[in-house]
Symmetry: C2
Subunit: 346 residues, 2 copies
DNA sequence: CCTGATTTTGATATCGGTAACAACAGAATT
DNA sequence: AATTCTGTTGTTACCGATATCAAAATCAGG
């Protein structure tokens, strides 16, 4: 038995169907579909007749039905470690703006820095049949990798440049950026450069930043000192704690490179509280250029990373793959440029 | 001619269909569907047989098809003015965490503070057949309101408590919060209290904050002074500009209430640069309690708003409507509490 | 052991669209 | 004038699931 008489063309659910538009315009549903999706293939007259009916009825196409039937999707899944990290928001904005222009939507979820949670979310997104995936993390469970491969949809990794990309990558090199800043400090004449980052377990960005720091020390001919490599949690308080810790354990430290803008700001505020002159007593450098670092005094030397661009390029490359079927882009790695911004704190 | 032989049960697209699982388990698709959605209605034996087949095939349900057929959706649409506003991220997090637990997904888009853009996005979300909508703005075009009404889906407004709610509201009162802080300053003995906010055109939050300020001044018996009511743009620089402007035009000002945490921080940094003692020369108060305000020195007096709670409650109330069909919640207004946090800056 | 109530399972139509091909008309070619 | 081409519109069979109702199997009670 039918669930509803198929002749019933009146509104029931609030929304009208394409069928209703077709009847009103005196054409077939295919013509309506064409007017809405490939207007060029329909005669002027039909187009107007159909659009008039669409307007009069207040017809809203059903994307679910369209995607199901055409096996195409205008939804992109994005997984970030944490939504409230100010750093990602610029990237999300870049993504969102470009996607919106092409009529694509963003589904966002947070993995809480946990690969298993990420896998779960990937599964959900795949079952929503997203047209593409954007992952901030570059660390995935084997099952997650398997599922993505099997699905065949294009993926962009964003947070770092992994040794073994899943598919496409749009990022900057955390290692190179960290190296560049450390070298910058070395060239400015600092002899005892400490390094602070977030805990590096399950965080390849932190790991790479540490590698860059160590490589630069070697290049500079400085001896690495375990007491000057610190790891800590998130938040301004962590930055405060870190600077206090290193000043305590290595009084002769003359510079602190914080691989994270929140840590750097926290460190600066602590220095202000303790009356440690910056950069007189200790120089401070940061990662990522946020408004805050430019406006505190002293303003903080930092790295300008292409956060917004990453989102923008990610969207573009994904759309090329989805819309134009640009298969030659499979496996592309886009390594975006960064910049050292010298300010008062060094 | 068929698009694909309907007998072909092998994998083609990467993903298997429910049909394939059914064949493998030797049951009908309805039984598979039941095992996945209403396990209680299926016998122990069937359940195991089907789940085994699901595992072996690596079957992933197709949500598009499921939603289309059942006319239910597990997607919630969220429209924020701007994704990179640190204030919303807490709310988004609260929303996201609760929704995820119930297997719902979030579709996010930004309206850029423009009601027409918001209307456009609402249309897109409706055509994606979202199960509910969350709007940060409380200002909508008549067409947007009409479309939402017609669709019949539940909606929550989040950014303020509007006079004429669309449906449900979960927020705090910007007017009351602003009133409370102004009264607090008055009780502390400040006589010349200035007020700074973002431009209030198309921003009813700013408008309400101004109303609260003016109401408090009246209550305190202070004469309102147009020179002490400032509007400006976003960013730390705007905060700096605002404090400089008011000190210039009204030298006897003794407190500045910034209705926005970025403005307040910008104002503080400018005071530090100019060596205006805070609160000695001028007191500063802020709106919204972010980590930064607690860690600068002097730490800044501010309002603690229930950002995360708003997201959480919004998700809950929406889920009640969608899952439990709790129609009695239609039109609910949840007015969450805020708090004045007294710190060193006043 | 049979009958009616209850629980499981399946057949079928449908959700609202689109792909693929057929049908037809007027334009272009020979 | 017959034939081929091109451009428009319609017909039909699906996309991959679920609602509904019917059929089959199991259970209870007499």
């Amino acid at each position: 038995m039918p669930r509803r008489s198929s002749e019933d063309s009146s509104k029931r659910n609030g929304s009208a169907r394409m069928r209703d538009v077709a009847v009103r315009a005196g054409v077939s549903t295919m013509t309506v579909s064409r007017v809405l999706n490939e207007p060029g293939k329909v005669s002027e007259e039909m187009r107007e007749r159909v659009l008039k009916a669409v307007r009069e009825i207040g017809y809203l196409p059903n994307h679910l039905a369209g995607s199901l039937s055409s096996n195409r999707s205008t939804t992109i899944g994005l997984i970030v470690p944490s939504i409230d990290n100010s750093i990602y928001t610029q990237t999300v904005k870049g993504l969102s703006e470009v996607l919106k222009r092409s009529g694509f939507q963003l589904m966002i979820a947070e993995s809480g820095y946990d690969p298993n949670e990420e896998e779960e979310l990937i599964t959900v997104f795949l079952s929503h049949r997203v047209g593409g995936l954007v992952l901030h993390s570059t660390e995935h469970t084997p099952q997650a990798i398997e599922k993505i491969r099997k699905s065949g949809i294009p993926v962009v990794e964003n947070g770092n440049i992994p040794k073994e990309p899943l598919d496409m990558v749009v990022s900057y090199s955390n290692r190179d950026a960290s190296y560049a800043m450390t070298m910058h400090l070395g060239r400015l004449g600092y002899r005892k450069i400490a390094f602070a980052s977030l805990y590096s377990v399950h965080n390849d960005r932190s790991q790479d930043r540490l590698k860059g720091y160590l490589a630069a020390l070697k290049q500079l001919g400085h001896e690495p000192d375990p007491r000057m490599v610190l790891e800590t949690g998130r938040g301004l308080a962590a930055g405060a704690e870190v600077v206090a810790r290193v000043m305590q354990s290595v009084p002769e430290v003359d510079a602190l490179f914080c691989a994270g803008e929140v840590l750097a700001a926290g460190a600066l505020f602590e220095c202000q509280r303790r009356n440690w002159s910056v950069p007189g007593r200790i120089a401070l450098a940061s990662f990522d250029d946020v408004d805050l670092l430019r406006h505190v005094s002293p303003s903080i030397t930092t790295l300008r990373l292409p956060r917004y661009d990453i989102g923008e390029r990610t969207a573009r490359i994904l759309l090329s793959r989805i819309i134009d079927g640009a298969d030659h882009l499979r496996g592309s790695v886009v390594d975006l440029k960064f910049e050292v911004i010298q300010r008062e704190s060094t």
